[in-house]
């Protein structure tokens, strides 16, 4: 009996298909043409052709964030691969499972400064979870299986697989063997929390008078939102989310006190600052949360649960560290609380909640929309929320619009809010929204963006036309780089250095040029009706260009180097 032989290109496609991959996002080029030829000759894995490789990574990223599956990217060697770098860094910072297949010049030319040769494994080393060089085509299937395993387990992250051209060409063949049940002696992500630490945590919780749950992106990644809700309802405690954790518990849940951090709610930040026990779940005490670490929550006993030991006690010392998958640990904690017959201290809770409500009521931060004046950006988000019943997927770009969306669109479910929180990558929004739309064609998918961010990947309007991806793009157009301008107003004496866009295109016409629908909104009177119209168009992409007040700032905002609850709540007014 003769063993069937396959080319490397065929093996890549076979392996992807064995791993149940539906889409690859990419762009062809010299070193991966054999792979593209193999993709052409099958119909299990569909290739989505983007207009720039950065967008391919964000699209795969958006797809991964919305579905929980691994996003797959394919790029050619050299510039194709380096264009992926920003998208890889974005996925890395937010722990998104992604596999990037990058072409490479033939092994015989590696190191020769060959045409379109770049050491992509070297370029991406600091921003990947792991990477593979392929030097024997028989290894391809298992390398890909390992890449998926590493990308999607433990703390997820991007994995780069470099495929030299001679590994893919028709002349070279080998038998196809794949081990889908991957095990690696050097990689065994810890899943269960240590029982001793669980007991300590339960004890601290049961003795707490001012408990707060601080939960993050880990909850979303672990699909642990139901457990979080159960835990919070058991503890009857307030719960705050990080920017990455929004939707981890419903934004309208009565225990939810809003987002915390730089642009978090006053009550969330005050609650953190005054807590005696902080139960931190799937978070990493990012500097945008803590503000000055020296002044961070001095009276709190901190229980920190995370799958990644490096996140624990990196910036803020954890008194009770628990390494493990957050869903597993939360279940252990619930079991332990049950075992010790835990009941919340109702009296302490009553006092604690009274205090929190007082903060909420006296320090409420809002905005003032005056009839006949420019539209306030917050008002657009509220209208968007109403029309979509709070059920839309919202993919955001980076800037003021991102913060307004986080503040004014209370997300009911995890994975609904898709944003570049760690890297803060402008240009993320549109391609990410496209990835979400591909996964959920029947849902409302919004790209909330600004006139700055949208222009960083606006070429993808062409991809939307090719694949009929009817996302709704809502641009809060303030003719400025709003967040930059805000800092310049607050910190740089109002000197608007390069934050003003003097040559904006007519976005509606740009959209129309690509065969989409453009809707221009200039006044408050037309805001609701025109937004309704935008969402009623089902099978075409709608680009809504909303002219908003360029002078509006995002509040609250941390006072630099202050404690977590030192904030500006409006111009010149501190919390």
């Amino acid at each position: 009996m003769t063993t069937e032989l396959f080319t490397g290109a065929e093996m890549v496609v076979k392996a992807l298909s064995a791993l149940k991959v539906k889409y690859i996002f990419g762009y062809p080029g010299g070193s991966v043409l054999d792979l593209y030829d193999a993709i052409f000759q099958q119909d299990e894995v569909e290739h989505i052709l983007v207009r720039h490789e950065q967008a391919a990574t964000h699209m795969a990223d958006g797809y991964a964030r919305a579905t929980g599956e691994v996003g797959v990217v394919l790029a050619t060697s050299g510039p194709g691969a380096t264009n992926c770098v920003t998208g890889i860094a974005t996925a890395y910072m937010d722990s998104i499972p992604m596999v990037v297949l990058a072409g490479q010049v033939p092994t015989t030319l590696i190191g020769n400064d060959a045409f379109q040769e770049t050491d992509i494994v070297g370029c991406t080393r600091p921003i990947i979870k792991h990477s593979f060089n392929c030097r024997d085509l028989a290894d391809i299937p298992n390398i890909i299986a390992k890449a998926f395993y590493i990308a999607s387990t433990g703390r997820p992250g991007p994995v780069v697989v470099e495929l030299p051209k001679d590994m893919l060409v028709p002349q070279n063949k080998a038998p196809y063997k794949i081990e889908l049940d991957v095990s690696m002696r050097s990689y065994n992500p810890n899943v269960k929390g240590h029982p001793k630490q669980i007991r300590k945590a339960a004890k601290a919780i049961s003795e707490a008078k001012k408990l707060v749950v601080y939960s993050g992106g880990g909850i979303v990644l672990a699909d642990a939102s139901q457990l979080l809700t159960t835990l919070v309802e058991t503890l009857k405690s307030p719960v705050t989310n990080t920017l990455m954790g929004l939707g981890g518990i419903s934004g309208t849940h009565e225990n939810f006190i809003g987002m915390l951090g730089m642009h978090g709610s006053v009550e969330a930040n005050k609650t953190m600052a005054n807590a005696d026990v902080i139960l931190a779940l799937g978070v990493r005490f990012d500097d945008r949360v803590t503000n000055n670490v020296e002044k961070f929550c001095p009276n709190a006993n901190i229980i920190h649960v995370d799958i990644d030991p490096t996140s624990i006690s990196k910036t803020i010392n954890a008194h009770i560290p628990v390494v493990g998958l957050v869903d597993v640990v939360m279940q252990q904690l619930l079991d332990e609380l049950n075992d010790i017959n835990y009941t919340p201290d109702e009296e302490a809770l009553k006092e604690w909640w009274q205090q929190i409500h007082l903060w909420r009521d006296t320090q409420h931060v809002g905005y003032e929309q005056i009839e006949g004046e420019k539209i306030k950006p917050q008002r657009v988000i509220e209208a968007m929320y109403k029309i979509t019943n709070g059920e839309a997927y919202v993919a955001s770009d980076v800037g003021q619009h991102q913060m307004f969306a986080a503040q004014y669109y209370p997300f009911a479910k995890p994975r609904q809010w898709i944003n570049s929180g760690g890297a803060g990558t402008m240009g993320f929004g549109l391609p990410a929204a496209m990835g979400v739309k591909l996964a959920f064609p029947d849902k409302h998918v919004i790209c909330i963006t600004g006139d700055g961010s949208i222009q960083m990947n606006i070429q993808e309007l062409s991809t939307c036309m090719q694949y009929s991806l009817p996302v709704v793009i809502i641009t809060l157009n303030n003719r400025s780089l709003g967040m930059v301008r805000q800092w310049q107003d607050m910190v740089y004496g109002g000197r608007h250095s390069s934050s003003y866009m003097e040559s904006l295109p007519d976005f509606c016409k740009v959209a129309e040029a690509y065969g989409h629908v453009g809707i221009q909104i200039d006044t408050l009177e037309e805001l609701d009706s025109k937004l309704e119209e935008a969402f009623s168009i089902k099978n075409k992409l709608v680009f809504v260009d909303v002219l908003v007040d360029e002078k509006e700032h995002v509040y609250p905002m941390h006072i630099r180097q202050g404690s977590i609850d030192e904030m500006w709540i409006k111009k010149g007014v501190k919390a």
Partner: protein
């Protein structure tokens, strides 16, 4: 404070660069680094000497451990251990006096002269860092040092416990 870390990792292309890259990316200090395959050829062992306070050390250990290629990491300096470094040094030995002195000092430090040229002796010495420093300083008082190379330290824990798969 100075720490010596022993790292057992997959003997694969790029594994070393991940370690080195990690140290530079996170601004950790490397005083010395040595690497070679172990008796099991599929594994490499790295010894890194680094400087940092407890918080930095904790991050170094965790971050290194997080690398997919790394199997084990342990700090040698918090337990009983043996630490050695190799020095090869060329010194000027062009007079009777300098030849005699160099030979004498080398014997005292239990080194060995491994090569002799017309005007130069090449000496080999192993020991911990302090011993090597003392040797170099003593030599430099007697003659001129032409060239020197140090391996960086390697270390192993004392006793029954072993760092293996």
């Amino acid at each position: 404070m100075r720490h010596i870390l022993a790292i057992l990792l997959e003997n694969e292309a790029g594994a070393l660069s991940r370690i080195v890259g990690l140290f530079s990316q996170r601004a950790f200090n490397i005083e010395s680094l040595t690497v070679a395959p172990t008796d099991d050829n599929s594994l490499s062992r790295i010894t890194i000497a680094t400087i940092g306070d407890d918080k930095v050390l904790e991050q170094i250990v965790k971050q290194v451990n997080k690398l997919v290629d790394v199997i084990k990491i342990s700090e040698l300096t918090d337990r009983k251990h043996v630490e050695r470094e190799l020095l090869l040094i060329k010194v000027l030995a062009n007079t009777d006096k300098s030849r005699t002195e160099v030979k004498r000092i080398t014997d005292i430090f239990r080194g060995a002269i491994v090569d002799i040229g017309k005007q130069i002796y090449t000496i080999e010495l192993t020991g911990d860092g302090d011993k090597l420093n003392a040797f170099i300083e003593t030599l430099s008082n007697e003659t001129e040092i032409i060239e020197s190379v140090r391996s960086g330290c390697v270390g192993i824990a004392r006793g029954e416990k072993a760092m293996r798969l």
